[in-house]
């Protein structure tokens, strides 16, 4: 269970900060990634916290530094609040760690697998609003991917985790993941600009539609275009997606408005089409069945539409 090389520690392990002398007890593993391992823990009071133990202390230092700066900003929180940042001396080695707000929810990578595509659009809409706020602070997120986004339970709102890739605008992007990186697809530079994050947003939708990370072919640009054309769900957003993929949107706000417009245009179309399809291709055998399903389906899509309208009007 305990394997210090991989930052694996048994539940119950006490962590004591070398500098601030705060004590934390590990409860259970939350997840791990390239940069470190994150545990749920508690700090004495009833409050649960998330404790990130770092493999490489310098990348944790930058991440904590960024979280700290964001913590001083007004308005909606962009990421988890940072509570502490310290070193833990254990068995002759020193492990850097930071303690942050525990965000209770589900990773967007899990959620996208289960929910209908309409939901993915809503999430991206929310994400764009967060990004607009982040970009105003002079940073981009960098390593934007579903794994680094969390759907917080109350209110189904999106929050960004893992600011290890956050980069000052104008610099070179610190961390990225190939599938979500425009450089990898031959569609732009790795210089940190808002459009870098916006490209990743479009790729999140492509990921949601494909259900996996498609692998790059020798002609990546055409490949993405063809993929969009081959997916019924994506076709109505073709123009929107291609604009984001070619870095045409210069602000998250602009992209968000375009997405709202595209979503509104699609909803009415689809219902119209499905009526037409049902009328044109009557299937006698399953008629009764389909008659039973159509209202249910209609009701479901009305609820989704209503929710989207609600989110757009009241939440955003």
């Amino acid at each position: 269970m305990t394997d210090p090389d991989n930052l694996c520690y048994a539940p119950g392990t006490m962590i004591v900060g070398k500098w601030h002398r705060n004590r934390y007890q590990l409860i259970r593993l939350l997840g791990s990634g390239a940069q470190g391992t994150v545990y749920l823990g508690h700090s004495g009071d009833a409050h649960p916290v998330a404790i990130k133990l770092a493999k490489d202390r310098s990348s944790l230092i930058s991440e904590a530094h960024i979280l700290e700066q964001f913590g001083r900003l007004q308005g909606d929180p962009l990421g988890p609040s940072l509570y502490d940042s310290d070193d833990w001396v254990t068995g002759g080695s020193t492990v850097g760690f930071c303690v942050m707000e525990y965000l209770e929810g589900t990773s967007l990578s899990e959620v996208l697998k289960k929910k209908a595509f309409d939901w993915s659009l809503v999430y991206v809409l929310q994400l764009l609003k967060q990004l607009a706020q982040l970009h105003k602070t002079g940073y981009i997120f960098g390593d934007l991917k579903p794994e680094n986004l969390m759907l917080i339970r109350p209110g189904y709102s999106i929050r960004c985790l893992d600011f290890g890739g956050a980069t000052k605008i104008g610099r070179s992007v610190r961390e990225y993941t190939e599938f979500y990186d425009r450089g990898y697809w031959g569609l732009g530079s790795r210089r940190a600009e808002p459009s870098y994050d916006l490209f990743a947003c479009a790729m999140i939708l492509i990921y949601a539609a494909a259900g996996r990370r498609i692998t790059r072919s020798s002609e990546p640009q055409n490949q993405l275009k063809h993929f969009i054309d081959s997916q019924g769900k994506l076709v109505p957003y073709r123009h929107f997606l291609l604009s984001a993929l070619s870095s045409d949107y210069t602000s998250a706000e602009q992209m968000r408005k375009e997405l709202v417009r595209a979503m509104m245009a699609v909803e009415s179309h689809e219902r119209h089409n499905s009526h037409a399809a049902a009328a044109r291709y009557p299937r006698p055998r399953t008629k009764r069945k389909s008659n039973g399903w159509t209202p249910a389906w209609l009701a479901a899509s009305m609820i989704i539409t209503a929710y989207i309208v609600f989110v757009v009007i009241y939440v955003m």
Binding site: S58, S62, A64, R171, S172, V173, G183, S189, A192
Partner: protein, 246 residues
Amino acid sequence: MKKGTLKQILLITDGCSNEGEDPVAMAALAREQGITVNVIGVLDQYDSEGGHGLQEVEGIAQSGGGISQIVQTRQLAQTVQMVTKQAMTQTIKGVINQQLQDILGDGETVEDLPPEKRGKVMEVVDEVGETADLNVCILVDTSASMKNKLPTVREALTDLSLSLSARMGENQFCLFLFPGKRKPVQKVIAWTPQLDSIERVFEKISSHGVTPTGPAIKEAIKSFASIAHKRAFYDGDDEAYDDGPR
């Protein structure tokens, strides 16, 4: 504002040297001249890890003051740019640590500062890494076993150039292949700011069985003398610190 230049050798290989000088000694020689040597060992799914050649990979990076990483062919692109950037950070931190030691003594390093101060220091490290000029001499092993890995190597190098060109500082690359067609080491691209259009370079290779890694590193060291010279990042103790914008 005066800027420093970071000098690196990036060696991409899949095995053991068998000709010429000892590459570990040549890497030490490079380091002595202020050049960091990073090594990437490339495996495909047929290679078994932990072979003798891969021990050499680590040895060369260690004596060259750089980073070594062993990767599967498909992860090459991301690894190449990560290793290069990490090595830059390491060098800059090394310089800053040196300064700290001079001031504070007792083996103090950035990591020994309290967390509050560390963030500020890392900001300086970042800033220098972003704005410093970088010269990378790339050495690619083209011995027989590397043959089917070369298309991926080529892609990884284009990708490296893309990553580094996003920085604010200036880059210079040059590319050597070993073994070369007639000579043990062949320069195929002279110092240039961008590594695109390198497709043809790899097409003309005839693969031999020999792997003259040591001589390749030696050639790389020499090549740094041929760039119109700016001051190395290492030169001049307190100047190196002044190089970083504060």
